[in-house]
Amino acid sequence: MASKAATKDIITLRGSAAIVSEFFGYAANSILYNRAVYPEESFAKVKKYGLPMLLTQDEGVKSFISNLTAQLSEWLESGKLQRIVLVIMSKVTSEVLERWNFSIETDKEVVETGASREKSDKEIMREIQAIMRQIATSISYLPCLDEPCVFDVLAYTDTDVAVPFTWIESDPKLIKYPQMVKLHSFDTKIHKVDTLVSYKNDEWDEA
């Protein structure tokens, strides 16, 4: 507790929502790069979270992700976002191959009263960094995506959310009998984000 007091930082709901949605933007880019959904040369390196991060330069993907994070931060601020899932599907068969699951727990009290919490940026960044490292290393155990793939993002929201014009209801795009690997989580003291990747069981493994 003593060390925490030394680096006391105030975090607001809005700030927390910004951190989480930004995190998701970088995480999505990192997944698309590391899983080679888009060609390697369409990414450019930037420094973020104390790590070299890769961001897509493809205008279509870029605007998709920026629209997404804008909407996510809106929902995060209202505390109505429960989960974000990035789904990787086969381009040809639309079979779901991977689901990157980001569960979000919101401190309801902060949303209702507008209170703020204390946690240093540095600490949050360290937690996010750990997740990013895990995403990058995930290629070592995830099965190879040896066919052209596409991705989609699902947002699990509370039912009382008004569906924006640009969004539609979707099925959960679940994987049958998935393998799951739990990754690190991070916590802004307002939003807690748990990461889990589930993927199609490698048939080769079972044989």
Partner: protein, 449 residues
């Protein structure tokens, strides 16, 4: 976080009380090894597990109302909690990624391939008194962008960047000029003459610097430079290396041909000399033994052509590749590996091959031909697919010369016309130096003198 809570969390009663069970705090269901289960959707999994069990136990067929209740229960548990949304517009799919070998650069090359090759010459100049002799070499374009052409007894220098002309006068009594060749520095011009002499001119002052007399006995039809060594080939079937810096200039001889030498070409590295002659042979000579005054042995004697070989060209992108073209009884373009002497390919063009030029920007080869069509043919290498055939000359196209930027090719033919073709495309870097960019005194057909 004591042991009691933990155990209670794990041993939640299964089966009959699924709908009443609701964890009020997700941080409760954890243990030492799985510190957090919140992402695993435990509640739902629990429901699915226990719900299924219940159904199995009362295996008798369900009444419609029970079925309906079960559906509603499932809906309540799964759907009502959450709304799953996704963007109406999906992210762009990586279309061009169908094959991992298909990279961007290849695509760029692909689009570049569709360049338009002009079917007409960029410019036509008049070349009166041009000697229509298959065994001479009367056209050369220097690295300093000056085109030298021998017409009759004179040599004319056409400055491509300015369009100005200067004239070098050979003596009337030494007979027509039989060959011209620029030194690599672009300043000095070697001129072979009918009387077996070779003269060196300074291009800026148009002054005669030196005459090499004691070499050949007959006319000198071909010349090439290798640094300070001027190699001359004569009608006397001799090839002589001349060191132009020293008084006794004759430093080496290549003996092997039995008829008039009609083409000499040093490789880009200066290691090998290719010679073609009227005895239908191509010889590849090595440079290593030319320092002594003794005669040299050839590396390879290539005897596949059936006519005089005056078209020789070293490949700019593969140092041991030589293209050669045969005369009127041969019609063939042949490709040689000059290290091994192996013939790599032979293509019958259907017409005598007078001259060959490799493109410096693409893997392409340009050949000039005689009877019937007197055309130029642009070939793709190594497939030898015809990319273009260009017609314009009325007589056999004897000589070709490439501009220093590698875009433009000058051709001169028996019809006394000098034509400039933009056949090798316009590479991004070059094209500034190309002669087309400047306004000229000759617009279309103009006299050189």
């Amino acid at each position: 976080m004591d042991a009691g809570t933990r155990y209670r969390a794990i041993r939640v009663p299964l089966g009959d009380r699924h709908h009443t069970h609701k964890l009020n705090n997700s941080s409760e269901n954890l243990d030492r090894f799985i510190p957090n289960r919140s992402a695993m959707d435990f509640d739902f999994a629990h429901f699915m597990l226990s719900g299924g069990k219940v159904m199995k136990e009362n295996s008798e067929p369900l009444s419609p109302s029970k079925e309906e209740y079960r559906k509603q229960l499932a809906a309540a548990f799964n759907m009502n909690r959450t709304r799953i949304l996704s963007f109406r517009n999906k992210p762009p799919s990586p279309a061009e990624q169908s094959s991992p070998l298909f990279t961007d650069t290849q695509q760029q090359k692909h689009s570049k391939r569709q360049r338009i090759i002009p079917q007409t010459p960029e410019r036509t100049l008049d070349a009166p008194e041009f000697v229509d002799d298959f065994y001479l070499n009367l056209l050369h374009w220097s690295d300093s962008n000056v085109l030298a052409i021998a017409l009759g007894n004179s040599v004319y220098m056409w400055h491509a960047s300015s369009g100005s002309i200067s004239e070098v006068l050979a003596d009337e009594d030494v007979g027509p000029v039989t060959s011209v060749r620029w030194a690599p520095d672009g300043k000095h011009l070697a001129v072979g003459l009918t009387n077996s002499h070779v003269q060196l001119y300074d291009s800026s002052s148009c002054k005669l610097l030196r005459t090499l007399r004691d070499g050949h006995r007959l006319r000198v039809g071909s010349l090439d430079w290798n640094n300070h060594i001027l190699t001359t080939g004569g009608q006397d079937s001799l090839i002589i290396n001349n060191d132009v810096r020293i008084r006794s200039h004759r430093v080496g001889t290549f003996m092997g041909h039995t008829r008039e030498i009609c083409s000499l070409k040093w490789s880009a590295t200066g290691q090998h000399l290719a010679s073609g002659a009227n005895d239908n042979l191509v010889h590849i000579w090595s440079n290593s033994r030319t320092s002594s005054n003794s005669s040299n042995q050839c590396l390879h004697r290539l005897a596949d052509h059936n006519a005089a070989v005056r078209a020789l060209s070293w490949c700019p992108f593969q140092s041991n590749l030589l293209a050669s073209g045969g005369g009127v009884a041969d019609h063939c373009i042949k490709f040689w590996n000059t290290n091994t002497g192996a013939c790599l390919n032979s293509v019958n063009t259907g017409s005598q091959v007078c001259s060959l030029q490799w493109s410096r920007h693409e893997r392409e080869l340009l050949s000039s031909h005689g009877y019937n069509d007197n055309q130029l043919i642009l070939w793709k290498y190594p497939s030898m697919v015809k990319i273009a055939e260009l017609q314009g000359h009325k007589s056999r196209v004897l000589h070709m010369a490439q501009s220093p930027d590698g875009c433009t090719v000058a051709t001169v033919a028996g019809d006394e016309r000098l034509m400039l073709w933009n056949v090798f495309g316009i590479p991004e870097v070059a094209s500034k130096q190309a002669p087309k960019s400047n306004p000229e005194p000759f617009s279309n057909v103009a006299r050189v003198r």
